[in-house]
């Protein structure tokens, strides 16, 4: 499944647009922090993850 697709159209927004301050749900924040915490940078551009193996 594709989520983002390339389009050559430039991004234009009205000047002074106030972005809606996005609210991150507590659950999503916990998930994000958890995923970031297991991410290990091996070298520039390469990352591994410290998962607890279930099997």
């Amino acid at each position: 499944m594709i989520y983002s697709y390339p389009d050559k159209t430039a991004f234009v927004v009205p000047a002074g647009t106030k972005l809606k301050k996005s609210h991150e749900s507590k659950k999503n924040r916990e998930i994000r922090k958890a995923i970031e915490s297991i991410t290990v940078q091996e070298n520039p551009g390469t990352y591994t993850f410290n998962f607890k193996k279930n099997k």
């Binding site: 594709i2 989520y3 993850f49």
Partner: protein
């Protein structure tokens, strides 16, 4: 907090280059244009830098995203444009075999590979903006299928401008979305 990987996978996220392009053999996100781009131009950094999430056991690519430099223009009523630097998520896709699979468990909550990969994507964008080249915004064109992921997990806003309406490219309906890179507290 316990983070588990349920299936027998060994995940690694890496830049697509001559050494790692063997992993994209057989990748199929369900869209021929994207599949072909990955095979033919995926290593072409002049277009975009591509990162692939691979399973080292099966040597398969689960999903990928590609990043490129972008500009977000602010239009005054008198027509003057001001630019802001941005990083665009040019493409983001998951292989159909892994689509919707929730193999990652976080304290009992299972998340999809798309959710997992998007968080990694944002992390890399923050690192680029902090260490390599300054940028303020994340931009992308979302497919209909991607809208929920980007709104709920990515916290992106739909662009509200008369010149930036929903567009159709290659018969795919696209919605422009953006957010500040350093939006997290």
């Amino acid at each position: 907090m316990v983070i588990e990987l349920f299936d027998d996978l060994d995940l690694k996220l890496t830049v697509l280059n001559k050494e790692t392009e063997k992993f994209i053999e057989g990748f199929n996100c369900g869209n021929l244009t994207i599949n072909n781009y990955l095979k033919l131009n995926g290593t072409c950094f002049e277009i975009a830098k591509t990162y692939i999430l691979i399973d080292q056991i099966s040597s398969k690519t689960i999903g990928f995203f590609s990043l490129c430099a972008d500009t977000l223009l602010e239009r005054e009523k008198n027509g003057i444009m001001h630019f802001n630097s941005a990083i665009r998520i040019n493409m983001f896709a998951i292989d159909t075999k892994y689509q919707g699979k929730r193999d990652i468990g976080i304290d009992g909550t299972r998340v999809t590979f798309a959710h997992f990969l998007l968080i990694q994507c944002f992390k890399i964008i923050r690192e680029i903006a902090e260490n390599y080249i300054g940028a303020s915004y994340i931009t992308l064109y979302s497919t209909l299928e991607g809208l929920n992921l980007y709104k709920e997990v990515g916290k992106l806003n739909v662009v509200d401008d008369e010149y930036m309406m929903t567009d159709t490219v290659d018969n795919i309906q696209l919605t422009p979305m953006y957010r500040e890179i350093f939006d997290y507290d």
